[in-house]
Symmetry: C2
Subunit: 347 residues, 2 copies
């Protein structure tokens, strides 16, 4: 098991890479443990849950609401949770996002940590201290910044994921390469076949490289005032696609990355050859999709929280492995969307 | 206008005592201002609201829910609020508590400040960075710690309060004296008649003394790990009375203070003569009530967030002007409640 530390002024977090549930038992309190999970995860891993009160939500994005977070708090109060209680999120991205918010607001904040069961959450969602729920069709509008005390990433658990969930996680893995580590990006693509065997050692190596990138960025900008924005690469278009077509997060982000790369070329920030490389790689990893951008996409993006005062802070690429942030006016995005959709339509 | 600064590792706050709305206009952004208020306050002060989007909730405790906070966030999103937006809570305790929570979770936190319109919120609720909503019948179970950038206390506004609201505020004013400043406590009682004229200079002087006490405590313990607990004097019994009898917060706290003082005598921490002084003072300020403690009070208190792992951290007095915190087991509290209610019944 390897340890990565994320120290920020707002709190410290230890990422435990490649450990097992047994390894983290000493880090949990003897009593007052509340395990927030979903009914799928409970079915698979319920037998190895540490001793505590289990609160299970419905799996999937529909559970990411303020009402579900409030209901979990109500159940905790009912079960006697107090300020000394400890919330353990045991699951994927949705579970971690909701459990983190619950721990942030229950009695103005209680201790919390995650056991991360999906590729998506091991490379991304459980790391970095962002919590969040959706507001209607807008993703992660409500939330907090709060570092989990630890995050356990047990790579053996990835064997139980469906192919779709696994591919979705590959999307976020590739994103980390695309914004900051060109080698990681192409290494993932080259290893695509071997990765699909879910070998925990091969996976562990790639996850570690991605998490080091994310941890490094979060340490330098925990509250997303600047640099951390690059982690949103692919997410602005991605969120719209995810909500509109009800596709998995990582798949939506993957297409969002390609669209953002198109935008980078359109803005003259990146040569077309790099866009081509990105597309080929997405194809190789089974992540190439061609959803059309829905009508009203720019208005939806403008309500996405990456927008600020009329313009959008957009993450673009200079090349595969190097992201930049540019303010782009809404009007210019309108023009780009028309161009992109016409291109899609003409095949 | 006088300034009191509260600097904590989690944020800074400036309290502007005795200023007017005009004074704070330079502190607000030119656009992106969202004013959270209630329909009563809007009726009285709507004409002097700074330019911004106005979101009004129903007045009163029933608006302190997570659902109302979520609905305010939805309205903000609808109206185009983004990360650069600024939330101004304009009202009393309920408005400030809810607006603070909205500012804490909207897009993972936006800037916020308060204009405090009631005596209760000027001496207490708007100061110190606690935000919160209720969960069913339990008060302030959900919330955050987040310092408002500034709090304006315009004492002229107190002339529009009902007598009941005003007396409720006196309860919290007396509390600050009871826990930390014996002179303040007796000075308030001696000035009770003059105070009821709502003279802003006399009020301003007392509010300033109370706020200095609160600011000093909050600076030393912003997250309520220890010392800050004394600010909850009267609140553990008070919350139960407030919910059960639907009486104003400060009235409930006043009786809660007397009961906590009885408990202090019962535990041998304080002489009976001091309890008598407290009772006489409450009577003089129109705050003496004699509600019976409802059945199940101890269970309700145990779910209150001042409880920790089976015992309750209880704020007691050594004398008027000096508070201490003691852990008291639930069983002992049961015995005390029986004793207290029998005494009430026998008149």
């Amino acid at each position: 098991m390897k340890r990565i530390r994320i120290n920020t002024p707002e709190g410290k977090s230890i990422l435990l890479m490649g450990g097992t549930v047994r390894d983290i038992l000493p880090l949990l309190p003897r009593k007052g443990l509340f395990i927030i999970t979903d009914t799928n995860v409970r079915k698979i891993y319920g037998s190895i849950f540490p001793p505590g009160e289990v609160l299970a939500i419905e799996p999937g994005e529909k559970s990411k609401t303020l009402a579900v977070a409030g209901e979990l708090c109500r159940q905790m109060l009912e079960a006697g949770a107090d300020r000394t209680s400890f919330v353990l999120g045991f699951g994927g991205g949705v579970v971690c996002d909701v459990a983190g918010l619950v721990a942030s607001i229950y009695m103005r904040g209680v201790r919390h940590a995650f056991i991360s069961t999906t590729l998506l959450s091991q490379v991304d969602a459980s790391i970095g201290g962002k919590t969040g729920v959706n507001l209607g069709e807008y993703k992660n509008i409500l939330g907090t910044f709060r570092q989990p005390e630890f995050v356990l990433c047990d790579h053996e658990m990835l064997s139980t994921l469906s192919d779709e969930e696994f591919r979705s996680g590959l999307g976020e893995l590739l994103k980390h390469g695309a914004i900051r580590d060109r080698n990681l990006f192409f290494d993932v693509a080259a290893a695509a076949d071997r990765l699909s065997s879910r070998d925990p050692r091969i996976l562990g190596d790639f996850i570690m490289r991605a998490v080091r990138i994310k941890a490094g960025v979060v340490k330098r900008d925990p509250l997303e005032k600047g640099l951390r924005r690059i982690l949103n690469f692919g997410h602005t278009f991605g969120h719209v696609l995810e909500t509109h077509y009800k596709i998995p997060h990582g798949m939506a982000v993957a297409q969002g990355m390609i669209i953002a790369a198109e935008l980078s070329v359109w803005k003259g920030e990146m040569p077309h050859s790099e866009l081509r490389l990105l597309q080929v790689t997405m194809e190789k990893t089974g992540l190439l999709t061609d959803y059309r951008l829905p009508a009203g996409v720019v208005n939806m993006m403008a309500k996405d929280k990456k927008s600020e005062a009329g313009s959008l802070n957009f993450v673009l690429l200079r090349m595969v492995g190097k992201a930049i942030v540019r303010k782009i006016p809404v009007t210019e995005l309108q023009a780009f969307v028309s161009y992109y959709n016409e291109k899609q339509d003409s095949g």
